[in-house]
Amino acid sequence: MSETQAIQQTGEAGFGDFLALLKPRVMSLVVFTALVGLIVAPVPVHPVVGFASILFIALGGGASGALNMWWDADIDAIMRRTQGRPIPSGKVAPGEALGFGLALSGLSVAMLGLAANWFAAAFLAFTIFFYVVVYSVWLKRLTPQNIVIGGAAGAFPPMIGWAVATGGVSIESLLMFAVIFMWTPPHFWALALFMKDDYGRAGVPMLTVTHGRKATRAHVLAYTILLIPFSLALALSGIGGWVTLGVTLILNAIFVFGGWKIWHRDEATAEADSYRVEKQVFRFSLSYVFLTFGALALDMLLGTRWPMAWWG
């Protein structure tokens, strides 16, 4: 047995292994959308309070990621995509991940309450609960709609950012939620299509497993179309403007075209080119959120917002 193997089995995790538990890539989406939710809100926030709030929202998101990895360690060990995560790779013990996740959850909620307001803190606590209990524990292994309902957890951060500034909820923050909520299913189903049998082997009832790949392709296209009214409503809302409207029109056209290409393909064609289109749509879907929310921020900074929402 080599020294490295012996060290891994003792569970001596490095600092980077604990950082990996926070799902840094997911955290970047949480940070960016929460930041935009905060800066487009009509109430100014002191930069230090804003910075601290975004940091605590990110920590809360990371904590829910750690708790998700603790709960899903058994299926993470089966799926190729997740085998290298800290728990299945033996770098972090499950109990350590659980303690780390719970401690960070408590710290992030308490600190957000003290830094900003207790409504935002309660919203963060609910988001952590939703992601860990409703999505990870309850829905993920129960229904192919896991991604649809569970996607709400990833859609809450801009609402929390808005709540940090305003202390409440509004139609604009609900529209930011709706855009991410409707975007999540085609994003994950595009991933599920080129992950092939990963979810099936792990026993996770993804749509590709329960309804087949043809149905999943149709669902991707349907959701890219269903996303249009919500993203247009956001672009025409009081926090939208010329930049957001232009970006929204272009992004939706590309996304629907990608969905149509996925729907139009059969498995043999996809296998032949190693799921090129599915991978392209998945990568583009990441840009979709960043560019949409970036446009909202740009409209505010450039002063190109509508004087009032188009729909009143």
Binding site: I7, A13, F15, F18, A52, A115
Partner: protein, 70 residues
């Protein structure tokens, strides 16, 4: 001379390197947390006006405290 020192201080075991990295990361995180809480406290107490902190003024205290002796 250098060779003698190296001989007396061999390369630490990977286990200790990992522990050092983790402790250093934790230490820096805690230091950053303390700095952030301090900055938040200053902002909350002064209402975002750092000069108020320098001059000893605090937000919300506009008159003598009730019940205090003159």
């Amino acid at each position: 001379m250098v060779g003698l020192i190296v001989a007396h201080f061999p390369k630490p075991h990977e286990l200790h390197q990992r522990r050092f990295g983790r402790n250093l990361g934790l230490g820096l995180s805690l230091a950053a947390f303390v700095a952030l809480v301090f900055a938040l406290t200053v902002v909350k107490v002064t209402g975002g006006d750092p000069m108020a902190a320098m001059s000893g003024q605090t937000q919300g205290v506009t008159g003598p405290i009730k019940g205090a002796q003159p």
